[in-house]
Symmetry: C2
Subunit: 124 residues, 2 copies
């Protein structure tokens, strides 16, 4: 196959399932602060924020970064949270955001998936 | 290891890099409509939406679903878009959302990653 790939940037995305969290996963203000601290830890600029509270419990917080996002969805009744750290930008280390998140959420156990995405052009 | 895992729900998350898109990736209204159609295709309820336009080009749209999200980040100058389909809910098929997105965005090529996340409790 005569395929020319012109890659612009390879970035690592972290997707983490957190179980048995000690933190209050129904506290939207705390979760927003936690995500802001994570964005700060990785040196990413937050350009927009969305917070949604579910009834009777559960919160979604998503920070729109200069060009990608950090998100959390919580199920407080199970102590469970789903975190995605998708941080675009050369030299940005998503692990710094993750370390910050982990310290705040205090999971008993977790499962992390790491994947690499290539942002740019592919020409046939 | 004496580990009891109490799984609530296994869901499939799709993460797709789209290259050489024919669609106008700088048209925020079109992208919002495209994501709404994808949520509709999978039968998910949209509870919140965020649209952010970057300067000089580029758009992020995220739909908050009843409990997770569909997101797109675009780099129109490269014909590139990053799509995440994270649809929680028993019997919801994320491939229906993806088929809708693919039809609208018309990528020349793509790279899709599929992963399974377990939402629920883990007890030690």
């Amino acid at each position: 196959m005569d395929l020319l790939v012109k890659a612009m940037l390879e970035i690592e995305q972290l997707l983490v399932d957190l179980y048995g969290c000690e933190a209050d996963l129904d506290d939207a203000d705390f979760l927003l602060d936690t995500l802001r601290a994570a964005a700060d830890a990785v040196g990413s600029k937050v350009v927009d924020e969305v917070v949604h509270r579910f009834s009777p419990v559960g919160v979604t917080v998503i920070l729109i970064l200069a060009e990608t996002h950090i998100s959390i969805h919580t199920w407080p009744e199970h102590g469970y949270a789903a975190v995605d750290v998708f941080v675009c930008g050369e030299g940005k280390d998503p692990n710094k955001a993750w370390d910050s998140l982990r310290g705040a959420l205090k999971p008993e156990s977790l499962e992390m998936k790491r994947l690499t995405r290539t942002i740019g052009e592919t020409r046939l």
